[in-house]
Amino acid sequence: MTKIDVHGHLGTWWFPIPGGNMASLLRLCDRYHIAHLLCSSAEAIVYDMRRGNETLAEAIAGQERILGYVVCHPRFLEASCQEMDTYLPEREFVGVKIHPHYSATPLGHAAMTDLIDEVARRTKLVQIHTYSAADAAAMAELAARRPDVNFIMAHACAADSWAAADAAARHNNLYLDFCCSDASIGRVEYALAKCGPQQIVFGSDMDLLDPAFTLGMFLDSGADEAQLQLIFYDNAARLLGRP
């Protein structure tokens, strides 16, 4: 089944993983039938926002398969706005990525809401790293505050994915992306029952993680073909406005 993967990164990590480049991402896309990968810069997330975004922009310029998120940091609002204004007009960039942990800013912090307001003026798609029930509660508040923005909850709050699903059931602008090392049985099943497949998207976290790992969660979840079609492609296509 052809897929849109909403969660990838360009760049290296401090783990023994070969790759970290476009060739590696494209190789994984080929292996797992991924038509489009939505990607953010690892460097922009963990160290240098400007240089990372710039490197990603150069890497994906002029091609269709790898699309970009602009990484923004809440503590650097003005610089983040400049980054969005530089890259979001480019057709390869489709949204914004925010990582509360690496930017040392909890989701409920005033700097985060200020940034989200600025993001909402420029794009309707934001991917935010979420890893706890507290994150789910904060995401619910953001979703209620900005119903005009679609939020992808990266990792679906990991071991607390029940909380992410509960939040998504209350806010139809929250979307769950299940990639993470926590492959606990029941994560996907609970979300399917609680918020339905229309608010679940496929993200792999490549090439930090191998897509096979998250795909295995869906394969074992009991989701039927129609549900998988929504999860693997249709929901993301709708968010991108590219049916």
Partner: protein, 243 residues
């Protein structure tokens, strides 16, 4: 399909998850995923009484030939631990699993090391230990490298994979298991760095999605011989199981 031997399964009450995993659920999942044989341990031994837990898992394996009993011992009890090693080996148990992560000790402590030495002395073949805590792969390599048993590091995530590979390079009797292997080319990397004969397949059933772990092996760019060794051959050889 290569029917695997799974070296990481359990049944019982998981206090950390506050969830019960009955033996029947494990058996059902093993059948669903066509697992040929599963090394399994009873969690009663991790959280409460290892003697009755070992009796339970030995009885379960006698009733269900697809199960390979794994005994466990809490070193903290001290009294009777060595006798339990002898008793279990006398009952045909060849693998012992330890839970320092759940029980609050570490693998360099003497009360554990005397049990490990007793396992080796009485003919045990495998010691299974969690490899997911920083420093433990190193300590395990240093303290157990002289024993004539294979020590399998369970649940090594990408954050400790580098330490685990260094530990395996230092201790030829050290091996690893793949429940938490979720990064691209992890199996290819391990085959290159430590050799395919030191990698075991494990899934974490019944708590984790089987296809997440299995898909990683399935999609890895390995030779047929390497894949067969990881999925089945290594465990069969180590434990004297029918190949």
């Amino acid at each position: 399909m290569q029917r695997p031997i799974d070296v990481n399964t359990f049944f019982g009450f998981d206090r950390s998850r506050q969830r019960c995993y009955p033996l029947d659920d494990l058996l059902l999942l093993l059948e669903r995923h066509q697992v040929a044989q599963a090394l399994t341990v009873c969690l009663r031994g991790a959280y409460y009484d290892f003697v009755s837990a070992n009796e339970e898992v030995i009885a379960a394996a006698r009733a269900h030939p697809q199960l390979v009993p794994v005994a466990t011992i809490h070193p903290g009890r001290y009294l009777g631990c060595l006798e339990e090693v002898r008793r279990c080996i006398g009952e045909g148990v060849v693998a012992f699993r330890f839970f320092p992560d759940l029980q609050g000790w570490n693998p360099s402590e003497l009360h554990f090391l005397r049990i490990a030495e007793a396992i080796a002395e009485h003919g045990g073949r495998a010691i299974l230990l969690p490899g997911g805590v920083a420093g433990w792969p190193t300590a395990i390599a240093r303290h157990l490298c002289h024993l004539p048993v294979t020590v399998v590091l369970l649940c090594v995530g990408y954050g400790l994979l580098g330490e685990a590979m260094a530990a395996m390079a230092a201790a030829p009797n050290l091996a690893c298991e793949g429940t938490m292997f979720d990064t691209p080319w992890v199996y290819e990397t391990l085959c290159c760095e430590v050799g395919p004969h030191r990698i075991f397949f494990g899934s974490g059933l019944p708590a984790r999605y089987f296809s997440s772990a299995y898909g990683m092996v399935q999609h890895a760019e390995l030779s047929d011989e390497e894949r067969a060794a990881i999925l089945r051959g290594n465990a069969a050889r180590l434990l004297g199981l029918e190949a």
